[in-house]
């Protein structure tokens, strides 16, 4: 029996000089100090599982993920342009398991936030002290008439990396010279905000270097502006030709760019007033937080999970921490945290730090939110956007002094960016990816 008041005991110890010892001997591990369950093994979930275990090995961590192989969405546009194989983007969970995380390949069917239990399709019930909810996104297929999961096998979204990416690549390969490749972008917020525009560049890159110089890449957009707009415009113009009659064309919502209906048989995209026949039609449907987050009641009416900025704890249910693409945070619409792997990774670290602190009776550490997101527009042509958020008065504040996008040429000011900028960022992008893969999955 423990004769001490646990809380004051831990506080007293916490005040003692810091030791670097983080491991706890076997006798203290017999019963876990606490149980953490992580739903989803993407960048958010896997990072959270690893960091909870790393910060406090006495906590039992179980990560539930249906797939045995994870395919990275970042860099997957390079599969479409033929610069990478899909296999090069894949990883297993053996290294996370070797860190002491129980990796369970199963699907969570229900969460009871009151009893603090999780039920899986495989019939298991797990109880948790803290739950990390990182299911990513699911699609609202019926947001475009004529589209559904079945049609997606003909008209791919390729917005979850894997077979869909490969399918889109095959369709591009089969496209004749002079063919039309349409990318339909849904209303924001979307995962990977620069993704569709990078894809346009990569498709053009492929066409230019694979005997399809007369191909056309048409972006039909449900938005009137987009991520890294000046940079993409500059790169498109410089590398492939941009505008009416050029290889890449972008139609914003204000010019009837929003696709409302598709015909799978003829590969035609219909906007309110027009129709566009495609040789390859890439339709990215509207999306929202993963179904399990919505079923758990964590999402707002628009389908995204709101969080407490200090800890990433859900604004709805205690002891549940939504991280990654499933959540929405920051000042909308301009300064909301982008749904990126890097953002998910730093959110997961905040959640892990807060969970471990709470379990040990300590106050949550200062939360640090950072995002770096690179895009590759062509050979030696990369650029990025950087975001830093701090928490002030319990609100996310985007730090305008920092971050922002890579510099672009400015015709009005007569400034031209040294091209070493884009050559370097094309390389850093690869280094960024290698390291974030290791940080999340190794």
């Amino acid at each position: 029996m423990n004769p001490f008041d646990r809380r004051s005991f831990i506080k007293a110890l916490a005040a003692a000089p810091a030791a670097s010892v983080l491991s706890v001997p076997a006798q203290a591990q017999a019963k876990p100090k606490a149980r953490v369950v992580v739903i989803g093994g993407g960048f958010g979930g896997s990072t959270a599982a690893k960091y909870v275990k790393m910060l406090d090995p006495a906590i039992e961590v179980t990560m539930i993920e249906p797939n045995k192989i994870y395919t990275s969405c970042p860099l997957s546009n390079e599969v479409i342009s033929g610069h990478r194989s899909i296999e090069s983007l894949q990883t297993g969970y053996d290294k996370i398991a070797a860190r002491g995380v129980n990796v369970m390949h199963d699907l969570v069917e229900a969460v009871d936030p009151v009893k603090k239990t999780v039920k899986t399709k495989g019939g298991k019930t797990l109880s948790y002290d803290a739950l990390v909810m990182s299911p990513g996104i699911d699609f609202k297929y019926d947001s475009v008439e004529g589209y559904d999961e079945k049609v997606a096998e003909v008209i791919p979204h390729a917005y979850k990396a894997g077979p869909q990416t490969v399918l889109l690549k095959k369709q591009l390969e089969a496209m004749p010279d002079g063919g039309v490749f349409i990318i339909s972008v849904p209303p924001r917020p979307i995962r990977c905000p620069p993704g569709p525009y990078e894809r346009a560049a990569q498709v053009a890159w492929y066409c230019k270097t694979h005997g399809k110089p007369k191909a056309k890449v048409l972006i039909l957009d449900a938005n009137d502006s987009h991520s890294k707009q000046a940079l993409f415009r500059q790169a498109w113009r410089e590398l492939y030709g941009y505008g009416k009659g050029q290889m890449i064309e972008w139609v914003p919502a204000a010019e009837d760019g929003k696709v409302v209906r598709v015909d799978a048989k003829t590969r035609t995209a219909y906007t309110s007033f027009g129709e566009h026949k495609a040789d390859v039609l890439n339709l990215i449907p509207l999306h929202h937080a993963g179904h399990i987050a919505i079923r758990t009641g964590l999402a707002n009416p628009r389908g995204w999970c709101e969080v407490v900025p200090m800890t990433m704890e859900s604004a709805v249910h205690k002891d549940i921490y939504p991280v990654g693409d499933a959540c929405i945070a920051g000042e909308l619409p301009v300064y909301d945290m982008p749904k990126s792997a890097h953002m998910a990774n730093t959110q997961a670290k905040v959640a892990a730090g807060a969970i471990v602190a709470k379990v040990n009776g300590l106050p949550p550490p200062t939360p640090w939110y950072v995002n770096t997101c690179y895009s590759l527009a062509g050979e030696n042509y990369g650029f990025s956007v950087v975001h830093i958020y701090r928490v002030e008065n319990n609100k996310f504040v985007y730090i305008t002094a920092a971050g922002g996008v890579s510099p672009a040429d400015d015709a009005a000011k007569g400034t031209k960016v040294p091209r070493i900028q884009y050559a370097l960022e094309a390389q850093y992008m690869q280094g960024w990816w290698r390291n974030i893969m290791a940080d999340a999955f190794a």
Partner: protein, 189 residues
């Protein structure tokens, strides 16, 4: 009280104190560097440098020069403007205390040999293997090759601001020797 219980409590105490340490402001901030520079500042490769175990003064100088626009960086210069001088000092101190870990990489023996010859002029500041000899110079032994190569290209490109002394030295290097120099330092333990 049983001796076992005392031992268990002592062990738990150490662990909790460690967790308190891990919950510190700078430790939490440093965790956000991991996803590009690796856990403990040891990079997994490509173009990203290892930073764990670099000299404190070097780390702080570089970060402050980025912040003040005196040194070019394609990405970090934008990122670092979001942190205060105090936070930057904290990060420099934190990463400098980690052990420098040379990263094993595939290098070309021919390039390594050529790089060794081409780095004779570097020895007085960077030592024979790139191991830091002064607080203002970084370790380069076992640093990521691609990173070293790209840094040299920055020094040789007058269109971006870089510190004058190293720029002067770097400009004496033949462009065709850059890759060899990178392979040489990357191969050193």
């Amino acid at each position: 009280m049983h001796r076992g219980v005392i031992h268990a409590l002592a062990a738990v105490g150490l662990a909790v104190a460690g967790i308190a340490h891990a919950s510190g402001t700078i430790e939490a901030l440093a965790r956000t560097c991991n996803n590009c520079h690796g856990v403990n500042g040891v990079s997994s490769g490509d173009a990203m440098p290892s930073i764990g175990g670099l000299p404190e003064s070097y780390l702080k100088t570089v970060m402050m020069e980025w912040k003040e626009g005196k040194r070019y960086s394609a990405t970090m210069a934008r990122l670092i403007k979001g942190y205060t001088e105090e936070e930057i000092s904290g990060l420099a101190a934190y990463f400098s205390k980690l052990p420098w870990t040379p990263v094993a990489q595939k290098t070309d023996p021919k390039l390594v040999e050529r790089g060794k010859q081409a780095t004779q002029a570097c020895v007085s500041c960077h030592g024979p293997t790139g191991k830091a000899m002064m607080p203002t110079a970084p370790n380069m032994n076992g640093q990521i090759a691609k990173y070293l190569e790209l840094e040299m290209r920055k020094y040789q490109d007058d269109s971006v601001p870089m510190p004058a002394m190293m720029r002067m030295m770097a400009k004496q290097v033949k462009p065709e020797d850059i890759e060899a120099i990178a392979h040489f330092y990357a191969s050193q333990k």
